[in-house]
C-alpha cells in the first residue's frame, strides 16, 4: 500500500467514526432529555423541540470539528501532529498524490496503523459508553417518558421472563370494600367458597401469578382478568342478590358465591300515642314519639300527617309533615307535638299520623322506613263515635222505618180528609193503618227481643226481659210508641196516633244510626242458597281443559336431591362437593334462608376440615320439614 492510499483509507475510517460518534451523541442527548423531561414533567411538545434543537446543535458541532478530515492533507497533518517522529513525509506524499520512492521507503506504515486503530477504538468506546449511560438513565426514568412503554414491552418480548410453574388458584384472597357511605372497613378472606358483601361493595378476587392462563366468569359471563407479574385479580360489584364467580386455571376451577346483603330500610315504631282516637271536637294536642333504628346509619326522620276530609264517596286528602329531625347514629328518637286545631280540621275529618325515617344510603337509596299509622277522627255531630263512613245496607229496622214514614203520611192524609168521611169509612181506614202499624211493632219486637216466634209478642209483654230491652233503648222507645199508636188507630183516633208515630219514627231512625255505629265487623250475613241457584245462569263460560301445574314444592325436592348428591360426592371429591353445596345454597337463599344458613355451616366445616355432622343433621331436618307452600288448615283447607 502506498502512503497516499493509506491516508485515504485512514480518512474514510475517521469519517465513519465521526458519523458513529455523532449519532451516539445525538441519541444520548435525546434519551437524557426524555428522562429529564419526564422527571420535571415537561410537556411532550417542549421535550420534542429540545430534542430536535440538541440534535442539530450536536451534529453542527461535530461537523465543525470534522474540518480536519475534509482532505487527505488535513488527515496527513493530523497524523503528523499526533506522531512527533514524522517529518512531513505524509504531508508531502498527500500533496504529491503520486508515490515518491524515497518517502515510500523511509515511512513505515506498519508503525502508524496501530496508532490509528487505537485512536478510533477509543472514540468508539467513548461513544458507546455515553450511549449506554444515557440508555440506562432512560430505562429507569418515570413511566411517562416518551416511548418507554413500547421499549419495555419490546424488551419483554425479546427477553421473556421465565416463571416457575405455580398453582394460581391455591390461595385466593377475596377483598370486600363496602361503599363509602356505610363507614364499614374493608375486609379480606382467604379461600372462602362464599362471601357476603353489602350492596354496592367492590369485591376483588386475587390469586398468585400472572394473569396468563387464568379464566373467570361471573354468572356465566366472561370477565377481564387484571394483574401484573405477581398477582392476577377479578373485580366485580355486589349488585345482584347472588353472583356466582367461577375462576379456572388449566384444568382446575374454583367457585365463589358472592351474596349481596341489602342495606335494610330503617325500622321505626310509633310509641306514642298507642291507639287510635275519636274526638268530639277538633281541639286536641298530643305528643307524638317514635323510636327508630337502622343497620348502618340514620339520616333524617319526620312525622307525616294525612288529613282526609269528605263524606260518602267524595273524599279529598292533603299531606303535611313535621319539621325533620337529623340523626348521626344508628338509633334515634323522633318527637313532635300534633295540634289538631293548627291543622284546621273539621268534624268528619280523619287525621292519619305515621313516622317516616330515611337512612344514609346514598348509593341505592335512601331507604325509607315507616311506622304503623295512628288515626284521629273528629266525629260529626250526627254520627258521634261512628267508625263507618258509608251507610250500612238497610237492615230490617230500616225498612220498618220507611214503612213508618209511609204510615205517618197516610195518617196525616186521613186526618186532613177526616171531615169528608163517614164514621164507618174513618174506622175502616184508621183500622187498616193500625193493622200495618201493628206489623211494624211486631217486627221491632222480633229484633228487640231476638225472637223467632212466628206468633209475635201477642200479649206476652209481661214476660219480656227488660234486660234485653235496656240494651237498645231506642228500639224500646220505638216499640212503646208503636203500641200507643196502634191503640189509637184501632179506635179511629188518627190525630191522637200521630205524635207517638212520630216518636217511633225518630226512635227507629236513631236505632238505625246506632246500628251503623257498630257496623264494623258485623256486616250483614247473606247466605246464598247454592242448590237453588246452581248452574241456573243463562250465560255460559268457556271453561276448558288446563294443563297440569307443576307440583307446588318442586324446588324443595330439587334441593333435597342436590343435597344428597353433594354429600355422596364429598367422599370422592371434596372440592366439587363444596361447589355443589354452594350452588344449592344460592337456590336456598330465596326459598329457605334457614337451609341456606345450614348449608353455609356445612361448607365452612368442610373447608376447614371440621366435623360436619351437626350441620348436616340441621340441613336434613330443614329439608324434611313439610312443604311451605302447602295449604294449612283453615276455611279453605279445613277438609
Amino acid at each position: 500500500m502506498t502512503i497516499y492510499a493509506f491516508i485515504r483509507k485512514t480518512q474514510r475510517l475517521i469519517v465513519l467514526t465521526a458519523a458513529v460518534k455523532g449519532v451516539a451523541l445525538a441519541a444520548s442527548l435525546a434519551l437524557l432529555i426524555f428522562a429529564v423531561g419526564a422527571l420535571v414533567d415537561l410537556p411532550s411538545g417542549t421535550v420534542a423541540t429540545i430534542v430536535v434543537l440538541s440534535a442539530i446543535s450536536s451534529l453542527g458541532a461535530l461537523a465543525y470539528r470534522a474540518k480536519m478530515i475534509r482532505s487527505p492533507v488535513s488527515v496527513a497533518l493530523w497524523l503528523e501532529e499526533t506522531i512527533p517522529a514524522m517529518h512531513y513525509e505524509l504531508v508531502t506524499s498527500a500533496e504529491s498524490r503520486i508515490p515518491l520512492p524515497d518517502l515510500e521507503r523511509s515511512v513505515h506504515l506498519d508503525h502508524i496503523q496501530p496508532f490509528v486503530t487505537r485512536r478510533i477504538a477509543k472514540v468508539l468506546t467513548r461513544s458507546a459508553s455515553m450511549l449506554l449511560g444515557a440508555s440506562l438513565i432512560y430505562l429507569f426514568s418515570p413511566a411517562t417518558s416518551f416511548g418507554r412503554g413500547r421499549v419495555h414491552s419490546g424488551m419483554a418480548r425479546a427477553f421473556p421472563r421465565v416463571f416457575p410453574p405455580i398453582n394460581k388458584l391455591a390461595s385466593l384472597r377475596i377483598r370486600i370494600t363496602p361503599p363509602a357511605y356505610s363507614g364499614l372497613r374493608a375486609s379480606e378472606q382467604t379461600n372462602a367458597a362464599s362471601v357476603s358483601a353489602l350492596a354496592g361493595s367492590r369485591v376483588v378476587i386475587a390469586g398468585p401469578g400472572t394473569p396468563e392462563g387464568v379464566r373467570a366468569t361471573v354468572d356465566g359471563a366472561p370477565v377481564r382478568i387484571a394483574g401484573d407479574d405477581d398477582t392476577w385479580s377479578v373485580t366485580l360489584s355486589a349488585v345482584k342478590p347472588v353472583s356466582i364467580v367461577r375462576v379456572a386455571h388449566n384444568a382446575e376451577t374454583r367457585l365463589i358465591v358472592v351474596e349481596t346483603v341489602p342495606d335494610r330500610p330503617p325500622q321505626v315504631v310509633l310509641t306514642a300515642p298507642l291507639r287510635d282516637t275519636t274526638l268530639r271536637t277538633p281541639r286536641y294536642s298530643v305528643l307524638l314519639q317514635a323510636e327508630t333504628s337502622d343497620d348502618l346509619g340514620l339520616r333524617q326522620g319526620y312525622f307525616e300527617y294525612l288529613i282526609v276530609s269528605g263524606t260518602g264517596e267524595a273524599f279529598s286528602g292533603r299531606t303535611l309533615t313535621s319539621p325533620p329531625a337529623h340523626f348521626e347514629s344508628r338509633t334515634g328518637r323522633l318527637q313532635a307535638r300534633l295540634d289538631l286545631a293548627a291543622l284546621k280540621v273539621v268534624p268528619g275529618d280523619l287525621v292519619s299520623v305515621r313516622a317516616v325515617v330515611r337512612d344514609n344510603n346514598t348509593l341505592t337509596g335512601p331507604s325509607i322506613g315507616t311506622s304503623d299509622t295512628r288515626s284521629f277522627r273528629i266525629a260529626r255531630a250526627d254520627e258521634y263515635d261512628s267508625v263507618s263512613i258509608e251507610a250500612a245496607a238497610p237492615p230490617p229496622v230500616d225498612s220498618s222505618a220507611m214503612s213508618q214514614r209511609m204510615l205517618i203520611l197516610m195518617t196525616e192524609a186521613l186526618v186532613r180528609k177526616k171531615k169528608l168521611l163517614t164514621k164507618q169509612q174513618l174506622v175502616k181506614e184508621s183500622d187498616d193503618i193500625g193493622f200495618m202499624e201493628d206489623r211494624i211493632r211486631k217486627r221491632v219486637y222480633d229484633i228487640l227481643y231476638q225472637t223467632d216466634s212466628p206468633e209475635g209478642p201477642g200479649d206476652t209483654e209481661e214476660v219480656e226481659s227488660e234486660i234485653q230491652a235496656i240494651n237498645n233503648p231506642d228500639l224500646k222507645e220505638a216499640y212503646d210508641a208503636l203500641w200507643d199508636a196502634v191503640r189509637s188507630l184501632r179506635i179511629a183516633e188518627p190525630a191522637v196516633a200521630l205524635p207517638p208515630m212520630r216518636v217511633a219514627l225518630k226512635a227507629l231512625d236513631r236505632a238505625r244510626l246506632a246500628k251503623r255505629l257498630y257496623l264494623r265487623g258485623t256486616a250483614p250475613r247473606v247466605v246464598v242458597d247454592i242448590s237453588r241457584v246452581r248452574l241456573t245462569g243463562k250465560e255460559k263460560g268457556i271453561s276448558s281443559m288446563r294443563s297440569p301445574q307443576a307440583v307446588a314444592d318442586s324446588s324443595r325436592r330439587m334441593l333435597l336431591s342436590g343435597f344428597e348428591s353433594a354429600i355422596t360426592l364429598s367422599k370422592s371429591d371434596r372440592r366439587l362437593a363444596i361447589e355443589q353445596l354452594s350452588l344449592l345454597r344460592v337456590r336456598a337463599l330465596a326459598s329457605s334462608p334457614p337451609l341456606a344458613t345450614a348449608l353455609r355451616d356445612i361448607i365452612d366445616a368442610m373447608e376447614q376440615n371440621r366435623e360436619t355432622a351437626a350441620a348436616l343433621i340441621r340441613a336434613r331436618r330443614l329439608l324434611a320439614t313439610p312443604s311451605v307452600t302447602g295449604t294449612p288448615n283453615g276455611e279453605w283447607g279445613g277438609g
Binding site: G521, V528, V533, R534, W636
Partner: protein, 207 residues
C-alpha cells in the same frame, strides 16, 4: 276427607286502617255468581278474616276494598306477603273509583311497599278469559260511565306478577260498588255484571 275436597270460601280481608267493610253484600253476590255459572264447590256464605291473623293464609283469594287511607300494620304486611308467597292471590278494589283519591294513592303505595310496584295488566291476559271472555279487557262499571269519581274509564287493571301469574290484582274501577247488591236482585239485570268476578275467582283457583 282431604283438604282438596273442601269448598271455596270467599274471604274479605279486614285491615286495621280504613273502611274495609264498605261493600258488605259483594261477597254473597259473587258466591251466587260462582254457583250460578260454575260447578265449583263454594261455601254459601263468606267470611271476614283479619289480615293480621294466620287464618288468612288458608284462603286462596282475599278481597279487600275501602274508601279511606289503606295501610297495613307490620303483622298485616307480613301475612299478606306470606299469602302471596304461598300462592294465594289478593284482589284489592278502590271503592272510590278515583285515581286522585286517598284510597288509590295509599293503596298503590302500600302495594308497592309490600309486594313491589304494580304494573298495568295487559288486556289479553288469561284472567280475561279464565271463564267468561272479555276481549276488551276489564269490563267498565256504571260508576265509570256515569261520570262519577275521576270521570275516566280505566282501560287497564294493575297487577303485581309472580312470573306469569297474578299475585296481587288492583282495580280502580269500583267493582265494589258495581257488585255490592243482594244476589236476588240479579234477576233484574239483562246482563249479569258480576261475570268478571267469576273470572277472578276461577283464575285464583286454577292458576
Amino acid at each position: 276427607m282431604g283438604w282438596w275436597l273442601s269448598d271455596f270460601t270467599f274471604c274479605t280481608g279486614r285491615y286495621e286502617s280504613g273502611d274495609w267493610d264498605s261493600a258488605p253484600t259483594l261477597p254473597a253476590n259473587l258466591i251466587d255468581s260462582v254457583a250460578r255459572y260454575t260447578d265449583i264447590a263454594v261455601a254459601p256464605s263468606a267470611v271476614i278474616v283479619p289480615l293480621s291473623s294466620p287464618r288468612i293464609l288458608g284462603f286462596p283469594l282475599v278481597y279487600m276494598t275501602g274508601h279511606l287511607p289503606f295501610r297495613f300494620s307490620e303483622s298485616e304486611r307480613a301475612n299478606a306477603r306470606k299469602l302471596v308467597d304461598r300462592g294465594g292471590m289478593i284482589f284489592i278494589d278502590d271503592h272510590n273509583h278515583d285515581i286522585g283519591g286517598v284510597f288509590h294513592k295509599t293503596a298503590v303505595e302500600e302495594i308497592t311497599r309490600t309486594f313491589g310496584k304494580p304494573a298495568e295488566l295487559r288486556n289479553d291476559h288469561a284472567i280475561y278469559k279464565s271463564f267468561f271472555a272479555f276481549p276488551d279487557g276489564p269490563p267498565a262499571t256504571s260508576h265509570e260511565l256515569n261520570g262519577w269519581g275521576d270521570n275516566l274509564v280505566h282501560k287497564n287493571l294493575l297487577a303485581v306478577m309472580d312470573g306469569p301469574r297474578i299475585s296481587v290484582l288492583y282495580s280502580n274501577k269500583d267493582y265494589s260498588s258495581e257488585w255490592n247488591y243482594h244476589p236476588d236482585n240479579k234477576r233484574f239485570s239483562s246482563v249479569d255484571n258480576t261475570r268478571f268476578g267469576v273470572n277472578i275467582i276461577v283464575y285464583a283457583l286454577t292458576r
